[in-house]
C-alpha cells in the first residue's frame, strides 16, 4: 500500500465529526486570554510596588540619616531599584517579534534570539542587579554603624544574599536557558537540512 493510499484514508477519516460548542469555546479562549493579560499586569504591578517600597523606605533613610555614607548608600539602592525595573521592561520589549504567526523558521530564530538576550541578562546579573544593590546596602550599613558585631552580621547576610541570587541566575542559565537554546538550534538545523 502506497503512502498516497494512506493519504486517502487520512482525509476520508475526518475527525471533524466532533462537534464544537462554539459559544463555550469562545468563552474559554477569552477567559484564558484575559487570565494571561491579568498575569502580565500583576507581574508588572508587583515589580513596580516592590521598587516603590524600596524607594520609600530608603528615601526616608536618605532624608533622615545623619551620615553622608548612609545617605549615599540609600540613594544608590533607590537608583538601582528604579534602574532594575526600567532595565527589565526594556529587555522584555527589546528583541525580535513574539508573534505566533511567523513562519516556523522565523519563529525559531526569533525565540533563539530572545533566549540569547535572557542568557546575556542573567550572566551579567552581577553588574546590573546584584552589584549596585549590594554596593548601596553595604554603604548604607557602614554609614549607620561601622565596626560592630551587628554590622559584620548584616554584611555577611548581604554577601550571602548576593551569592544566592547570583547562583540562582547561573543555575537558570545552565539548567533552563542553555538547553532551550540547544533545542532551538537543533530544530532549526533539522528544518534547514536538505537530506
Amino acid at each position: 500500500m502506497t503512502l498516497d493510499a494512506y493519504r486517502d484514508d487520512w482525509n476520508e477519516l475526518d475527525p471533524d465529526h466532533e462537534a464544537l460548542d462554539e459559544e463555550r469555546l469562545l468563552e474559554r479562549v477569552r477567559e484564558e486570554s484575559d487570565a494571561f493579560e491579568r498575569k502580565i499586569r500583576r507581574r508588572d504591578l508587583l515589580e513596580t510596588l516592590a521598587a516603590a517600597f524600596v524607594v520609600l523606605a530608603f528615601g526616608y533613610e536618605a532624608a533622615t540619616s545623619t551620615t553622608w555614607l548612609a545617605r549615599l548608600g540609600a540613594l544608590i539602592v533607590i537608583g538601582s531599584s528604579v534602574f532594575v525595573v526600567w532595565w527589565l521592561r526594556r529587555a522584555r520589549k527589546a528583541g525580535p517579534a513574539r508573534s505566533m504567526d511567523l513562519t516556523v523558521g522565523d519563529r525559531l530564530r526569533a525565540e533563539r534570539e530572545r533566549v540569547d538576550i535572557q542568557i546575556h541578562l542573567l550572566e551579567n546579573v552581577l553588574w546590573w542587579y546584584v552589584g549596585p544593590l549590594a554596593v548601596g546596602t553595604v554603604l548604607f550599613t557602614l554609614g549607620l554603624e561601622a565596626g560592630t558585631a551587628a554590622t559584620a552580621v548584616t554584611l555577611s547576610v548581604i554577601a550571602a544574599g548576593c551569592a544566592f541570587v547570583w547562583r540562582l541566575n547561573m543555575r537558570a542559565v545552565r539548567r533552563a536557558l542553555r538547553p532551550r537554546r540547544n533545542e532551538l538550534t537543533r530544530l532549526l538545523r533539522d528544518l534547514q537540512e536538505e537530506a
Binding site: 462554539e22 494571561f36 516556523v104 519563529r107
Partner: protein, 176 residues
C-alpha cells in the same frame, strides 16, 4: 464599550469561529501528531485556539487563513514543550462540553481507522520538523504553502518531502 469597538470584537469573533470551523480537522491532526496522550492533545488544541485568538488582530490576509492558522498551530505545538511551565492553564477534560461528543464509528471504518493509526505511529517516529512537513503533505497543502508555513523555498520543501515520503513508505511497508 463603543459601537466601533463592539463591531471590531464581533468581527474578530466571527473571523475566529469561521477559521476554527474550517480547520478543526487539521488542527486535531496536528494535536494528535504532537501531543503525548489524549489529555495532552486536548490541552494542545485549547492552547492553539488561545494563540490563534491572541494573534488574530495581526492577521492581515497576506496568507490564506488556513495557512496562517497552520503556522500558529505548528509554532504552538513546537514551542509548547519549552513553555509548559511558564503559564498555568486550565485543563480541558474529554467530558468538557466544548469538545462535544463523537458518534460511534460504523464497522466499515474500522480497518481504515487501523491504517490511519499505523500512519500516526509511523509519523511519531519522525523528527518534529519532518512531522510538520508530512502533516501538510497529508492535508494536501501545495509546496508553496508548505514553504510559506515553514519558511523554506519550494525546492527545499520538495527535497525534504521526497526523503520523508521514502522513509515513511519503507516503515509502513515493513509493518504491513
Amino acid at each position: 464599550m463603543s459601537v466601533e469597538r463592539e463591531t471590531t470584537m464581533s468581527d474578530r469573533r466571527n473571523a475566529f469561529l469561521h477559521m476554527v470551523r474550517e480547520n478543526t480537522a487539521r488542527l486535531r491532526r496536528i494535536c494528535r501528531a504532537y501531543a503525548e496522550d489524549r489529555e495532552d492533545e486536548q490541552d494542545l488544541f485549547q492552547e492553539i485556539l488561545f494563540q490563534a485568538w491572541r494573534s488574530l488582530p495581526s492577521f492581515e490576509g497576506e496568507a490564506r487563513p488556513g495557512t496562517w492558522l497552520y503556522r500558529v498551530a505548528l509554532n504552538t505545538a513546537l514551542g509548547r514543550k519549552r513553555k509548559r511551565d511558564v503559564r498555568s492553564r486550565a485543563h480541558l477534560s474529554e467530558d468538557d462540553p466544548v469538545m462535544g461528543s463523537r458518534p460511534p464509528r460504523p464497522d466499515r471504518e474500522l480497518s481504515q481507522k487501523r491504517r490511519v493509526e499505523r500512519l500516526y505511529a509511523a509519523i511519531d517516529r519522525l523528527s518534529e520538523m519532518d512531522r510538520a512537513l508530512v502533516l501538510m503533505y497529508l492535508d494536501e497543502h501545495s509546496y508553496a504553502e508548505m514553504g510559506d508555513v515553514l519558511g523554506l523555498s519550494e525546492s527545499h520543501v520538495g527535497v525534504k518531502l521526497h526523503r520523508i515520503r521514502k522513509k515513511l513508505s519503507e516503515w509502513l511497508e515493513d509493518e504491513s
